[in-house]
């Protein structure tokens, strides 16, 4: 059994390919059932965002599994052929596939490193896979771990601390001029998208007073309602300057709406209280001659872009730390996955039952010193018979189910019933639907019917369920 990922992202494929592969939410269910219908595909999860389309799957055989998933991807769009796709795809299996998912979830593979959207998208994809029972024990475990790794990365590194969008950079700068935004007044001149976004960020960061002016007063009124602010007539915008601590300008005007004299006058009225002017318009709407005026801080779109660029570099530095965390976490999960192999489980089960028998026999023999050697042999044989019958069903079931869809679940259950060794952190039963729900009854059925008296022969040709 192998965990694999086949997919493409903004790093490997142009948008023309990505948009064709993208699966809209409404068709996710259908796509998932198509994926799981391929022979040899045990579990599946489909992550489709505007920057990546990836299929995570648990397959029986590596090579054929890769082929099936690639086929599935090619089938999502009529105009795509498998050969067409190959140059854009990446394939990972085992630890590398898990590591890839961890990196994606932690936003290390994102176009903007550290952005938080991807984690939500993974949660959504997982939700869909869970509801349609496409994911089982293995994927459930791996995806849940990926989500917790992503959270760890967010809290333990500064990867998401700085602004990486132009609109948010404006907020960051505002906070270096005003320590507390709640008492500040924002004046929004014009209603460009970026300015509206910046205004929304400012409000989210505490600004309560918003004044809005647009050429179309009606539009201004609508916006004012949306931002819980006040609309003012466009003709008055110069008079509004003095009362504004933060001025956001983005209009389609082709000339300067605000010049140095306007700002000088406003500063005098404000008695030199600092003023933060953000010009997000192209062509610019605030005369650059405003820059040298004391206590007035003018930033245009290029300044904001520059800030964003620097922050990206900071994030990349933090990303290196996050990569290290991913490596650690993959190792932890790898241990758990290894424990799900059948052969070592059977060996462990046999060792454990032998142990118990030995201890109990020794204890009773010490008290029954008078027994003849024949009697001793008989007592020991009885102990062996009991213990063997106890575990026989489990062993048979484990081997019989080794290649079935829920094999790993049986192994996991057996390990826990017989206390063979602790499962790794964070794993709790009952979370995952599907295969895990069946594991309890199946395993107890196994121990219920005990037709044979001997232990399963030690050497078995049966291939343990490898999850590499």
């Amino acid at each position: 059994m192998h965990i694999i990922v086949v997919g493409l992202s903004h790093k490997t494929a142009p948008v023309e390919i990505r948009e064709k592969l993208a699966v809209p939410e409404s068709r996710l269910r259908e796509a998932l059932s198509r994926l799981c219908a391929y022979p040899g595909v045990r579990e599946g999860l489909l992550l489709s965002t505007c920057n990546r389309v990836e299929v995570y799957a648990v397959v029986e055989e590596l090579e054929s599994g890769y082929g099936r998933v690639q086929e599935f991807l090619a089938d999502t769009h009529l105009s795509l052929s498998s050969e067409h796709l190959t140059p854009h795809l990446y394939w990972h299996a085992g630890d590398r596939a898990i590591g890839h998912l961890f990196r994606v979830a932690s936003s290390l593979d994102s176009m903007i490193v550290g952005e938080s959207q991807i984690l939500g998208q993974i949660k959504d994809a997982f939700e869909v896979a869970l509801t349609h029972k496409a994911s089982g024990l293995l994927l459930n475990k791996v995806v849940k771990k990926a989500i917790s790794v992503a959270k760890r990365v967010r809290t333990e590194t500064k990867i998401a601390e700085t602004a990486v969008s132009v609109s948010y950079a404006a907020v960051e700068l505002a906070k270096k001029i005003f320590s507390n935004l709640t008492e500040k007044t924002v004046l929004l001149i014009g209603a460009g998208e970026m300015a509206k976004l910046a205004a929304r960020h400012l409000i989210a960061n505490g600004v309560r007073q918003v004044r809005i002016t647009t050429r179309n007063f009606q539009h201004g009124l609508e916006l004012a309602q949306r931002f819980n602010g006040t609309a003012v007539p466009f003709d008055d915008y110069k008079a509004e300057l003095a009362g504004a601590d933060i001025v956001l300008v983005s209009t389609g005007a082709s000339h300067y709406l605000i010049n140095a004299d306007d700002v000088q006058r406003a500063m005098r009225q404000r008695m030199n209280r600092p003023m933060f002017l953000i010009d997000i318009s192209v062509p610019r709407n605030i005369d650059p001659a405003v820059r040298p005026i004391d206590d007035a801080f003018l930033f245009d779109i290029d300044d904001l872009h520059m800030r964003v660029e620097q922050n990206r570099e900071d994030r990349l530095r933090e990303a290196a730390k996050a990569e290290q965390m991913v490596v650690e976490e993959v190792a932890v999960l790898g241990q758990w996955l290894q424990s799900l192999e059948v052969t070592p489980t059977i060996v462990a089960l046999r060792t454990r039952s032998e142990d118990i028998k030995r201890r109990e026999v020794d204890k009773i023999m010490a008290r029954l010193g008078h027994l003849s050697p024949e009697d001793r042999a008989a007592v020991e044989a009885m102990a062996s018979a009991i213990i063997n019958k106890m575990v026989h069903g489990t062993m048979v079931t484990l081997k019989a189910e080794a290649t079935s869809a829920s094999g790993a679940a049986y192994v996991d259950a057996a390990r826990r019933f017989f206390n063979l060794e602790a499962t790794p952190d964070g794993y709790t039963a009952g979370h995952a639907e599907g295969s895990e729900g069946q594991e309890g009854s199946a395993a107890s059925n196994g121990t219920g019917r005990l037709p044979d008296t001997s232990l399963v022969p030690q050497t078995t040709k049966e291939q343990g369920r490898r999850v590499s």
Partner: protein, 268 residues
């Protein structure tokens, strides 16, 4: 005993100054904790040194320039620790601790152990020195806030978003700190000058005799008065206030130098 602790304090402030200056250049925040720890240790030994010195000579000696400067340095660190604990403004240490070190080193230069006898009337001198020094601490903090303001202002204007930019607080907070420091320092200096005038009356029979350092002191007082009134009435805030408080503090330093030159060690 006090001299041992005094030297120890100087050593600790020196190390913490180095750490705090290194902190300015480095991205990591851990250095600020180390620096703060060393500063706190220095403050503890400084307190012991001051108390021991008082016990040694205290009431029997005229307040000297050494004591005044050592006390000034101690108060500066106290104010810094208070702001640091309330606002976690680590970067303030990078500015205040060096200033405290400079003043302590200067104090060391004026240290003398010879005791001169003190007539009861000179006790008012202690009041005068203490109050004036407390006022000066306020102006020193305003000066530091002003320097930090101008740096941050310059970084924002020139769009240089470096490590220092990240560490310095918002402009309006620095302006607020500047204002608060003067609001607290000014009345203390006023009381210091009044008590000084009383001392002078007792010693010389006149309240004011307009010698150069007294004149300077009055000019400084008038200057800070103007700074305060200007802020409240005609908007001398932000960058302007930062410049003014830096100039004002230079005036304070000049007054102190004048005092030293005139009296060779004892404050009058």
């Amino acid at each position: 005993m006090s001299s041992v602790f005094f030297m120890l304090t100087m050593a600790l402030y020196f190390v913490s100054t180095v750490c705090y200056l290194a902190y300015l250049l480095r991205r990591a925040e851990t250095l600020s904790k180390v620096s703060l720890g060393i500063t706190a240790m220095g403050f503890a030994t400084h307190t012991v040194a001051l108390v021991a010195r008082m016990a040694d000579t205290g009431q029997t000696q005229l307040p000297t320039f050494h004591e005044a400067l050592s006390f000034f340095s101690w108060m500066l660190i106290l104010v810094f620790l208070a702001v640091e604990f309330r606002r976690q403004l680590h970067v303030l240490g990078s500015f205040i601790v060096p200033l405290a070190l400079i003043s302590l080193v200067t104090a060391a230069a004026f240290r003398s152990d010879e005791a001169s006898s003190l007539q009861p009337v000179f006790k008012t001198l202690w009041v005068h020195v203490t109050l004036s020094m407390l006022g000066t601490v306020g102006f020193a903090v305003a000066f530091v806030a002003g320097v930090m303001y101008l740096i941050q202002d310059g970084l924002l204007k020139s769009k240089r978003f470096n490590v220092l930019y990240a560490k310095l607080p918002a402009l309006d907070y620095l302006d607020h700190l500047n204002q608060q420091s003067i609001v607290m320092g000014f009345p203390l200096l006023t009381l210091g000058i009044i008590s000084g005038a009383f001392s002078a009356e007792i010693v010389r029979g006149t309240y004011v005799n307009w010698n150069p350092e007294q004149t300077w002191a009055m000019v400084t007082w008038g200057f800070y008065f103007a700074v305060l009134v200007g802020r409240l009435t005609i908007g001398w805030r932000a960058k302007r206030a930062a410049y003014l408080t830096i100039i004002g503090f230079a005036g304070v330093i000049l007054t102190l130098i004048g005092v030293v030159l005139k009296s060779h060690g004892s404050v009058s």
